[in-house]
Symmetry: C2
Subunit: 557 residues, 2 copies
């Protein structure tokens, strides 16, 4: 895009009109800054896709201008795309200690750790980049070490909240830095970008602190072993599990790779305090008296490959859920995961465990990490922005967030609900939303980045619903006569031993279609293929009301 | 199964350890009675499947003994399998007027209406079948005209509740017949089968009546047109929508085939009272002043082909959602449907409509049709069964229902949580759960009933995630030499124009694999196919980390 004079340009490459793959751009003249680089898991319609990331064509075209990738916190939807991004565009990365630790694990997996320029920052860091100065403010969320970002430009300040809530009694005693936010607002905010995940939910979140007591009580009442499952990255909750284990005289084992990873990083960066001798190895679980054991595991969303799911299928040789064991879900199913979670609860009951679960915090063991309506209004009130762009949310959340902003005094015309790629150009006098840059979804499948597109997905969908029939037709090169019985193979359509009659009918109709072509037009392969296809399609639909994919090879001999 | 003397045998062919495709069997000596015949919608793992029904092998093997299909109410999970059942086994069907009306629509669609023996019953009917007498009691649910069933056998009474709740101020003034239930309990219940859908939810449902006021208030406040979406079969809610329209001076249009169907049947059977001149046709919606119009439509679950979804995509030429129109969701998303519902809410906001929604009745416009814990305990208390079989629910619901039954005094050893097919044999003295009959899922795909099995589904899954590569290899019949360039076609794997290099590599490796076979072993087609397959698999996994299905044809010329 053309460089706008005395204008700061703001755009999303991911994260608006969707949850996930967050990425925002702030451009002032020749300097572009990127905030976050998340990934998103595909829904079931994206068959076989492993991950969705951003289309960063615009950044690659402007690679000389892109100064830094600034990461607000360590959740997948903010860091998951980083390795794929860095493979396309080398860039220095700025993040707090815990966030950086989690990014490093990813870079190591992709063999990118050595070549990447990483900078550790904290909430007090100030980064001068020519005309733009970048600073931070401390926020709360469901992972520690989160920051919001302030871009001080010659024409005004742009503030990006990252994900946040206001937990005034946080588990780590690191309150959100309301005083600094007030100062920032006092100095003047030209544009605020604020997250919208919970903009539909009224009220103010309870404190994470409230959960500790419920966990401790459940640990105390459990007659035998207790398993507790939560998001590995929720380090504050992990701390409360450790505290509850200590208070109730239980040793704690960790199950699940991401749990071990994050506990290690969090302990190294000082975000977890683990008493000596508290942690035991999985093989020790069954050796101690059961009332002295707690197990913290991944899989609270019912993920089939995570620890909790594997426990119910006896995939751990040395750890078993036994009758009268207790299983606690310190979590709430994310929409879409309900069925998987339910399946695991069923399995745990079959093992005769006591199971404590509930959606939306009914069990007292879960609170959300995202600001609700009153918290969003508090942020808007502190920042007093002239212009407001609600980010990180589906359309209805952005829409509600706009209503909230209006209710605290932001002018309706100064609020911009954007699509990914749409640019808001803000000068001292006005803001306009007239341009856009390239944006979209890029699919990761195995090693391939972007090589699976719409046509491949359309084929996968057709194949998945109706299967495929491959028919091999061999005809005489000179006169188009059928030389041998057609060879028909079906996959995902009907199972051949069950459907011999139908396959025989297909072969008959293929033969007669070839004969007709031969009589009328000779031996043109394209015509033969078309006629055979038409005849077989009609037959199959009549017999089965299905339309499998047809691949027809016509061989001439 | 062997006929048990002086025993009543009870089994489920669907509906336990699952929600949906309900079917229960009650057998006394030579007489078998079937309660309900539902269908179930497949989850996304059952690729391409349209419907799931029961395996009724046992009933077909005992066709001379099966006396009747008794249907408790008109929901899909209780009637959806009837046409498929009747195609396999002719049987007289007994149901109340509304239920029968809905069954008739299905039978007509399948061309079965004329040949089926249908009997209308009401809550006072008594059906003598030799040694067994069948009678009924009136219940409440989210569709009118529901009954529970009593089987009076020489050794005791078996009671099946159907789906129910206790709404003591129902919209149609037809209270649940608590007095008759008390009488039945007083006479003695040997076995109770009771539904478990909401066994996890504490408390007692609010009355459906409470919803009317909220709908009326929303109608009154809506400045322009109001659209309201709910389950078509919730006739009581439809009545309250009609009442609200009348009280607020709006005409009502119906959108969606199932809405029109059910309103017609319900009006004919006296379950709906519609003021003269209230209903208007869809083409009239845009002609009246918008504040005088309400539209009742299907699609509250976000179904892509239902009316509400089609409204957002402008699929109705004559009806539009305009800015300041109001859209009410008088419903709660069923687990699994959240994403589709959210998508529609987003689209409605984009059209600048006011949208009122919420899960679990937050908007005051939805209550569940299924008894919660206190209601389940009330049923158990009224019936005082000696033996109890919780039905209609996933395992954790059956498990909770067992706990509820114990809490009101049913002995633990007298409660049976069964799997589909497992038989509980009850005599005057004891109950045993030792035998089972054939049970399972049968898939309907297009016209095929049961012709898509595990292998086809496995293939569809593989195809959907990785696609397919078909390779045609032509070799000389005499010496196995490759006669022409291999022909490779991919579908759902990589898109060929993007992947020409990879396909060229595949063809090279195919050629070299054929050459190697030729040198070592000559021209065996099976060997060539194996070697080609191995070589291509290795190459593709190395290059892409994917394993598409491979179909290799070796032609000899």
């Amino acid at each position: 895009m053309e460089i706008q004079k005395e204008t700061v340009s703001i755009f999303a490459l991911g994260g608006v009109n969707e949850i996930g793959k967050n990425m925002y751009g702030i451009q002032y003249k020749e300097d572009i800054f990127i905030v976050d680089c998340g990934s998103k898991f595909p829904d079931e319609s994206l068959l076989g896709i492993d991950l969705i990331i951003q289309d960063i064509t615009y950044l690659k075209e402007n690679r000389d201008r892109v100064r830094a990738l600034i990461v607000t916190h360590g959740h997948e939807d903010h860091i998951g795309g980083i390795p794929y991004f860095l493979k396309q565009l080398q860039l220095p990365v700025y993040a707090t200690a815990l966030t950086l630790g989690l990014i490093e694990i990813k870079l190591k997996e992709h063999g990118l750790l050595r070549e990447t320029e990483l900078h550790e920052i904290d909430a007090d860091s100030v980064l001068p980049f020519g005309q733009v100065e970048v600073s931070f403010f401390r926020t709360n969320h469901s992972i520690p070490d989160c920051v919001g970002v302030v871009f001080q430009t010659p024409i005004g300040n742009v503030v990006h909240t990252g994900d946040f809530k206001f937990d005034l009694t946080p588990v780590n005693n690191e309150s959100p830095d309301i005083h600094r936010m007030a100062e920032i607002g006092q100095r003047g905010v030209l544009v605020l970008l604020s997250e919208s995940t919970n903009a539909e939910r009224p009220g103010f979140n309870p404190s994470e602190m409230a959960i500790g007591g419920h966990i401790e009580e459940a640990f105390r009442q459990a007659p035998r072993k207790v398993f507790i499952s939560t998001f590995a990255s929720n380090v504050h909750r992990v701390q409360q599990v450790i505290d509850a284990a200590e208070k109730t005289g239980r040793k704690l084992a960790l199950l699940g790779r991401s749990m071990t990873n994050i506990v290690n990083v969090a302990a190294e960066t000082g975000h977890l305090s683990i008493p000596d001798g508290m942690l035991i190895e999985p093989y020790e679980i069954m050796k101690l008296p059961p009332e002295q054991v707690a197990v913290l595991c991944t899989g609270s969303q019912g993920e089939p490959m995570a620890a909790l799911s594997r426990l119910t299928s006896s995939a751990f040789r040395k750890v078993e859920v036994l009758p009268e064991d207790t299983v606690l879900f310190a979590s709430s199913p994310i929409p879409g995961n309900e069925k998987n979670v339910s399946r695991i609860i069923d399995s745990l009951y079959r093992l005769r465990a006591n199971v404590v679960y509930g959606s939306g915090g009914e069990s007292g063991m879960h609170v959300s990490g995202h600001a609700r309506q009153e918290e969003l209004k508090l942020m808007l009130t502190l920042m007093k922005p002239k212009y407001f762009i609600p980010i990180h949310g589906e359309y209805r959340m952005l829409y509600k967030h706009r209503q909230l902003a209006e209710s605290v005094g932001v002018e309706r015309d100064n609020i911009f609900i954007v699509k990914n790629g749409e640019v808001v150009d803000v000068s001292k006098e006005e803001a306009r939303q007239t341009r856009s840059v390239k944006a979209g979804r890029v699919f990761v499948d195995g090693l391939g980045i972007g090589d699976v597109g719409k046509i491949v997905l359309r084929d996968r969908k057709l194949l998945s619903e109706e299967g495929i029939l491959v028919i091999l037709v061999t005809v005489d090169k000179t006169d188009g006569e059928l030389l041998m019985e057609p060879d028909t193979i079906s996959r995902g359509f009907v199972y051949k031993p069950d459907a011999e009659e139908l396959i025989a009918e297909v072969n008959e109709i293929v033969a007669s279609a070839v004969q007709q072509v031969q009589k009328a037009e000779g031996s043109d392969r394209v015509v033969i293929r078309q006629q055979v296809k038409k005849a077989v399609e009609t037959l199959l639909y009549e017999r089965t009301k299905r339309r499998p994919m047809l691949l027809i090879f016509v061989m001439e001999m």
